[in-house]
């Protein structure tokens, strides 16, 4: 699935760019704790995005009822992963929970920006095929 891979790489590049800027801003204006939170949040966000893509690629090959159940179970697994990350961020004094949430949201922000401003590469922008 070339389209999915292209989209994942595009999102990954956007997240990396956004988070490098955010980490530098945190290091300049705040402290290392905040920068560490951004790093952890964005890292787990990207891992979750990859897990989501793997589970959806498998789900569409199953029959519809099994696909729905499979997607729900995979969602619960990712939810537990988020629970562990936020719990550790809350308990550890060297990670800021608020910047961890910002790091997590950076993946969604990049997806929204890419789609709202249509920042796909040119060959994908005009990919609509008319039925003849």
């Amino acid at each position: 699935m070339k389209e999915v891979k292209e989209t994942k790489i595009l999102v990954l590049k956007g997240v990396a760019l956004l988070n490098i800027v955010l980490i530098l801003l945190m290091l300049i204006f705040f402290d290392l704790r905040s920068a560490y939170g951004i790093f952890i949040g964005s890292l787990i966000g990207v891992i979750n995005f990859h897990l989501l893509s793997l589970s959806l690629q498998k789900a569409v090959k199953l029959e519809p009822t099994k696909a729905g159940f499979y997607a729900f179970i995979q969602y619960i697994i990712r939810y537990i992963l988020w629970f562990l990350v936020f719990y550790i961020a809350l308990k550890r004094p060297d990670v800021n929970i608020l910047t961890t949430i910002v790091g997590m949201l950076s993946v969604k922000v990049v997806i929204l920006v890419i789609n709202v401003f249509n920042l796909y590469p040119l060959k994908r922008k005009f990919s609509r095929k008319e039925v003849s």
Binding site: V60, A71, Y79, I101, K108, I111
Partner: protein, 86 residues
């Protein structure tokens, strides 16, 4: 019952209610995956585009469930309301 116990009890109930947000996103994602599987069955050549759109939609929709999780965790483990009691 002391004020602190009342706040803690209400926070626990609030955390439980916040977790309901997570179930909704999961059911929605499962429903979308089922419809995606149907769409791929009808049009196998468009599988890449279907999964791409579903991936972006599911990634954004998942956020609402995680908001609920964050609220529940903050209410349980870093409750800001306890500090307001004085």
């Amino acid at each position: 019952m002391s004020d602190q116990a009342l706040v803690l009890a209400a926070s626990a109930i609030g955390a439980g209610l916040a977790m309901i947000a997570g179930i909704g996103a999961g059911i929605g994602q499962g429903f979308a995956a089922g419809k995606g599987a149907e769409a791929v069955g009808k049009q196998p050549e468009a599988q890449g585009d279907i999964v791409r759109v579903m991936l972006l939609g599911a990634a954004v929709a998942e956020t609402t469930g995680i908001y609920g999780l964050v609220i529940a965790l903050i209410l349980l483990f870093a409750n800001p309301l306890i500090g307001l009691l004085g």
